[in-house]
Symmetry: C2
Subunit: 692 residues, 2 copies
Amino acid sequence: MLDGLFRPRSVAVVGASNNPFSIGNIVIRNLAAHGFKGPIFPINPKERAIRSFKCFKSVLDVPDEVDLVNISVNYNLVPGVLTECGKKGVKFCIVHTAGFKEVGAEGIKREREMVALAHSLGMRIFGPNSQGIQNSDPEVSVYANFTFVPMKPGNISVIAQGGGMGELLKLHLHKAGLGHRLYCSYGNEADLTMPELLAYYGEDPGTKAIMMQIESFKDPAAFLEVASRITPRKPILAIKAGRTREGSVAVSSHTGTLVDQAAMATALFRKAGVVEFSDSEQMIKTGIALSTQDPPKGNRIGMITNTGGPGIQMTDESVDRGLVLAKWSEAGYQKLKASLYAEASLGNPVDVVATGGPEHYQAAVETLLAEEGVDMVLVFFVTAPFVNLDEIAKRIREAVSKSKKPVAMVVETIPEYGRLIELLRGAGLPVYEFAEDGARSLAAMWRHTKLAARPREEPPALPVDRAAAEAIVARYSGKNAYLTQADAFAVLAAYGVPVPRLAVVPGPDGLATAARAVGFPCVLKVDAADVVHKSDEGGVVLDIGDPETLAAAYRTMHDRFAARGARFLLMEQKAPGREVIVGVSESPGLGSLVMFGLGGVFVEVMRDVAFAVAPLSRPEAREMMAETKGYRILTGMRGQAGVDLEALEELVLRVSRLAADFPAIVEMDLNPVFAYPKGTAPAAVDVRMKVR
Amino acid sequence: MLDGLFRPRSVAVVGASNNPFSIGNIVIRNLAAHGFKGPIFPINPKERAIRSFKCFKSVLDVPDEVDLVNISVNYNLVPGVLTECGKKGVKFCIVHTAGFKEVGAEGIKREREMVALAHSLGMRIFGPNSQGIQNSDPEVSVYANFTFVPMKPGNISVIAQGGGMGELLKLHLHKAGLGHRLYCSYGNEADLTMPELLAYYGEDPGTKAIMMQIESFKDPAAFLEVASRITPRKPILAIKAGRTREGSVAVSSHTGTLVDQAAMATALFRKAGVVEFSDSEQMIKTGIALSTQDPPKGNRIGMITNTGGPGIQMTDESVDRGLVLAKWSEAGYQKLKASLYAEASLGNPVDVVATGGPEHYQAAVETLLAEEGVDMVLVFFVTAPFVNLDEIAKRIREAVSKSKKPVAMVVETIPEYGRLIELLRGAGLPVYEFAEDGARSLAAMWRHTKLAARPREEPPALPVDRAAAEAIVARYSGKNAYLTQADAFAVLAAYGVPVPRLAVVPGPDGLATAARAVGFPCVLKVDAADVVHKSDEGGVVLDIGDPETLAAAYRTMHDRFAARGARFLLMEQKAPGREVIVGVSESPGLGSLVMFGLGGVFVEVMRDVAFAVAPLSRPEAREMMAETKGYRILTGMRGQAGVDLEALEELVLRVSRLAADFPAIVEMDLNPVFAYPKGTAPAAVDVRMKVR
């Protein structure tokens, strides 16, 4: 439990000074200005008082228990301070001080030693190189942080790796007249981890929704586990920074080429049920809506406007973002007709026209909210000189008070009429400046609803021969090398992935035995680590129909490759099927990703592939497959038969289980997999597999 | 010239009253409040004075010349007012009054009669059902409009079909501390057209850039012509409202299915060099930048920040939007190193760190602007408690004053520090709240630069036999019918589009003659309007190699289709080539669009097609082709040969010329066209063509 960090009964500030630009001074100012409920103890051997708080030479001199200590002394002094804190029985230290991991090898050592020291003293470290924490709960009101945005109670909690982004999120909640609940920007994450902090947010009763900014995942598995537990109950909105960073590209592998950081974070967020954003503004505006509105139960939007153009913009944006325009019941239509001007539009959006007044807005909002077919309402209002603005706000307030459905407002007005916006915000309505923002925010709330409602299944138990795979993988461990084809197929086979019959050809004498095992027609392949593009180099002979052709093919290939120490493989020739590619790539910090797509132009030209984090549940496997545009071909279209999707899903699940069981398999490409019509198992006819 | 409208020396307001909520009263208030330079004449037979301006019974009583009249009387009274205006020698009337085209047939008639009357009196009508016009030029200062956003001089001009959207554009220029130049929202566009108004904006010396909102194009050709003339000199930013409206879909034709309103407007804007937006907020924010900054000469962005996270957001957004991260020269790098703190990041973005002060920002901005490899600069600043904000603004101001390159600022601060933003805006800098907005606005300015710099060529002169095509098309004119295959191929051939050799089969006796003309192998096809999916219905026999097979195929097909009055066609069997689809669809109000894409999965599954407005120039044809993802296949990839792109371009140009010459051809599908390797002409092997 992190109550000692987020609900401290007292705070000491080590490194406080009377320099108003020093971190310690600012932390004391923030604590005092926001009415921290416990005592504040500045620690500085040279001062009598700081900001009128009695100053102590050491935390050991404080005549009270100390729960939390903010430390901003030079890094050389930190160990001494920690030792004193340990003696005092302090449980949590926020280390603002920089000069640790972020400065390289020496700092990393310093950081490790600091954490070890803290643990030996029974303490946890927040940071170092960190901002600090805040909790606006009036029972605590702790602002143990040196930033500048004022704090007031709210119900959105913020957790940001980057301090500037964290501040931005707070700032815009503040500008919208809202507060926040918990806040932290955790810096180097040396000890207390982001997932630990997130778990605390999840349990905090005052937190309705969580906004996150993440620059890198230190422990993606822990994040996944914690976030997955929270998202069915509370929305998590997140940005992964750096989506265009060009990672290193493994040219020899499709999977390596196509996986990028953005795809990986997206897969992780989806699995965890987190609503992902790339744009900070859109995330914040959604957070603003979630502060006062519940997520919609469905995706049918009802819209109201008093002028056409913005109504069209709302419509376009809603449809683009996956919302559906609601239709009214006959009773609803008649109620609108009876309540509005003759020239009003009664469709969706309802246009009450520019002269529409308070009673028209009230009737329209009430009617739409009462409709069973409406899940959310978006109201646009451009202030007209003809209309009583206070009354508009009052009537809209009355109308929304009768419903639990989410409502967003867009108000187009000059700053002089700002009171209207205050009145609407006072009624708990999110108020935006642009029609599109309202539609986007409601649509993002719907994304949460959908994610929270997804079937959550465990990855299925699959009968696999893990020991057999282990025995092969172990032989390559530590070599960062590709498996031979024979070994790679054997690993797949151990996991129940259908592969062609195959046999290693020990030499010309073994041809007949191998051919008996495999049968005709068959394929002769070179199997050597340094022959990457086998076909291009003449290392594959297809459609071998009899022993004589096989012998001739073997001689040719032997002459070509034997000098390079190559081995040879005889494989069953599979009938051509629909080409699919299934890949795996392991990303340090994110785990193993499974990739799926159709082969040929789909992958090479269109890059039409989807990713998911291994191991997959059945719904996740099907969702990933269905996400590709080429999926329509697999289901059958234009009179062409589809493929056996259940069998293909089973293959994907087994590959994902293999990837999850062996993180050392850093790269795997089943390319192509042949998929066949219903009733015929697919087959991986070529494979590349690399072990770290 | 529209000087009488936008630079009137006097304005009369017919329908003025002392009701402060009446349009006439508000127009007088707006004119007077904004210091209109000429006299204002209220016209109302029942009043002595309105807002202290002497009131006249009729415009004929005004003791002065009248350039412009605002009319808001009931529509029944409009003709009488116009007649008096005509006698008075008025040249322009703004008709606010509603009750015309927008109310249906009777209103359309009323509108036509009104325009005819005005023309007979030598007058032009603006509207009806319109807001009005504004011109902030201090020599005129005319606010002949009933809206509420205050006017001050600026250099962005706004032209909006929807009044609400026009007001929104003005409003946000105002909120950003900027004014605007010309403004109009033109309502029903009964007489004065949007292209006429736009042409005037283009010539206005005080207009630096133009923002537009368009709901429907009344005369797309005129718009294209006018906008194309303006965009090389002044940026035009535009939104076409209603991009998701589901148009009617012609199920029988790929082109009809794939063309939508959004694609059509996009093609039109691109041809005209207009920078298109779907989001009103992004357009406005770009307009704000253009008000004080020149578009960049290139796409290399240099960025400065004092905190990491927003720097990443700027980077991501810049790269996503097609900007390139600039690299500094060694001298620039050294200058940054010498000027900034040791812990600063000297790459792109430059991170001056949170304690970076005025001199650091000045040095960074100056250095980046002086770099030859930098075309634009984006500066992020989160206010830190350590820094003198006024001094920051002053130093950045100094730094930017030395360069003509565009600079955008993003400032993250609380409203209490608003003075900083005012100071920066006072220096002509656009200031945004979100990192992404800065990047998006600079990127949109770059889009303008690119569009303005495109090669502008006339569509090439192509030798075609227009008369031959005309003779065939004329036979179908007015029938809204599909051409027979034979006729459709003949029209293509008349325009030099390569088609297979073909012959109509008059009956079993003509088979031999037809076969001699076409040669073997050949294809026998049914040619009947009601056989839409010929292959599916057994109406195509391929690969006929000899007279006997031909005779048998003819008998079978005759038995199947003769009862339906079908005719039969014998065609040369072309060797299979790379399948391409070229289509044309005519959209009322937008002209003929040419569609291009690869056949098969590219069009059916991926909808990977591009559109352009006919007739195409050579660069436009190539640009359209290159826009499809499948284009990479046409150029050759992965060791596979490409196709003859010049020959394919020629075919596209000829189709586009045909579409432009015959707007009555409302639909055309060349599907497939076989494209062949260099040196071999492509061939349209199937065609559907429909004439209105």
